[in-house]
């Protein structure tokens, strides 16, 4: 019963999303002023050919700082989860 309900909800959701999506236009973004600015001025301001790297590391550098912190925290979390549980209560791994 719950399975059929889930399938019905999913079909309704997919139909709703499809109805929204058919109204979008593909290949012609309307508000591209910021990206045009980056493409026009990125080479002269940052002296970089790769505009995506320019945005990732310079225009949105704080974004990448948070991203690196998230990756670091995830690795620390995995290391914390897989420490050895046998032995003493505060047993160090290795």
């Amino acid at each position: 019963m719950r399975r059929y309900l889930s399938v019905a909800v999913m079909l309704i959701l997919a139909a709703f999303l499809m109805f929204i999506v058919t109204g979008l236009t593909f290949g012609n973004p309307q508000y591209a002023d910021m990206d045009d600015y980056f493409i026009q001025n990125g080479q002269e301001q940052i002296a970089t050919n790769n505009i995506v790297t320019t945005i990732v590391f310079d225009y949105r550098g704080f974004d990448t700082l948070g991203e690196s912190t998230v990756l670091f925290t995830a690795v620390i979390g995995v290391a914390m989860l897989f420490r050895k549980f046998t032995g003493g209560e505060y047993d160090e791994d290795e």
Binding site: R3, S6, V7, V9, M10, L13, A14, L17, M18, V21, T22, L24, T25, F26, G27, N28, P29, A32, M34, D35, F38, I39, Q43, N49, N50, I51, V52, T54, I55, V56, R60, D63, T64, E67, V70, L71, T73, A74, V75, G77, V78, L81, F82
Partner: protein, 114 residues
């Protein structure tokens, strides 16, 4: 219908991802559904920034001056890395749950905990 095929693919991927999350009982399969959903979001971000006949926004030996929007690609890069990080933590939790309860079935784990 074919004029915005990538958006239709986004809807299909979203439906598949949410269906896997709702219907499957295995934790690893649920995390696979979460990754499919992440891929749907990434494809949507990239498809929004596409410009007709554009190339990747890299000027090294660029054959054409028309370029796609670079900001969605940068945000998608962030999204991919964060998806990798969350997947690593979730898989670690799945392994710990399997070690403690002997199963990855979410309903069995729920019954075990009361």
């Amino acid at each position: 219908m074919l004029w915005n095929l990538p958006f239709i693919a986004v809807v299909l991927l979203t439906a598949i991802g949410i269906s896997i999350i709702l219907l499957k009982k295995n934790l690893v399969k649920i995390f696979m559904g979460l990754n499919v959903l992440t891929s749907a979001v990434n494809l949507f971000i990239i498809a929004v920034g596409y410009r007709e006949g554009g190339i990747a926004p890299i000027f090294t030996n660029a054959p054409s001056p028309v370029m796609v929007m670079p900001t969605p690609q940068a945000l998608c890069l962030t999204s991919i890395v964060i998806g990798v990080a969350t997947t690593a933590v979730l898989l670690a939790f799945a392994m710990l749950l399997y070690r403690m309860y002997g199963t990855n079935d979410v309903e069995a784990i729920r019954e075990l905990r009361g």
